[in-house]
Symmetry: C2
DNA sequence: TCCATAGAGATACCATGTATCAATAAGGTA
DNA sequence: TACCTTATTGATACATGGTATCTCTATGGA
């Protein structure tokens, strides 16, 4: 749950102007706790602040991605639609996305992931520089009825 | 390295017609050992078989994805461009992509990955159903000069 | 050889971004 | 407070990647 004033402060410190469209888009973005597409965001903006242009929405989204306030996530890997966005806290971490309700949980299993990367480096002789890991599953409240 | 006749057999068994455009696209696809974009493939096709339509290329690509002969991969996670394709063998596995030359190596570190998934399940109470993991790095031959 | 129909090419369309450009408004300064 | 520089805006056009539709062709079974 990122907080708006802190982000505005950062923008200010980095020389960005604190404009009304930016504040508005930022507020909409952080108010969403689940992944959203650019189209969904644009629809919200059009409804609540119809004078803001589409390009501005994309520009702000891009800015927030570069600042680490928003991450692009990859879902529906097998279909055409691929991008969604998600407001999240800074620093590197991964997402676990509920395939039923969309709830997102972060995780940081760094030790096991590092072990995995080291194993892969040994087996392949690659030098691993980065990775992308996303998990899909059922959150606790969506598991009812299917005990197994 | 998937082999064309075997894939054609599978298509045939599954009731698909073995048409010349399909064969042609399939051959082009499996002849590439590195990730390629739809635009690159379309360019190759236009050059070598200019009567094949763009829609057919996408349709065939989609069919091959559904059959598991081709996978969509996600690179340049932080930029707009996201999709590329890669001909690869069946069954679930992951890719390690050289960020310098594009060389792709598969890996199957299933045990460690399973351990990671189990840890995550314990910590988050999610039930994990699927995952997407891609690694970027330098292949052995692109590591020269940067010892560290 | 014939025939039903899956698949083809052409074309228009859609979705997601990006580039361009003149007009506007932040926010530092006099 | 008024002024000025320039980052940012909205509008518009464009680029890219993929899909829908529609008519015609040609695959492959009878």
């Amino acid at each position: 749950m990122p907080d708006v004033p802190a982000i505005l402060d950062r923008l200010d410190h980095e020389g960005y102007r604190l404009t009304w469209p930016r504040r508005t888009v930022l507020e909409k973005v952080v108010s969403r706790t689940k992944p959203f597409t650019s189209a969904e965001l644009w629809e919200m903006i059009q409804h609540d602040a119809p004078t803001i242009g589409r390009a501005t929405v994309f520009r702000t989204l891009d800015l927030l991605c570069r600042m680490g306030v928003v991450q692009r996530i990859h879902r529906d890997a097998e279909s055409g639609r691929c991008h969604a966005y998600l407001a999240c806290d800074e620093r590197h971490h991964h997402h676990l996305i509920c395939s039923n309700c969309g709830k997102v949980t972060d995780f940081h299993e760094d030790k096991t992931l590092d072990a995995l990367v080291r194993e892969i480096e040994q087996h392949t002789a690659f030098r691993v520089q980065g990775h992308m890991l996303e998990l899909m599953g059922l959150c606790p409240s969506c598991q009812g009825g299917v005990p197994s």
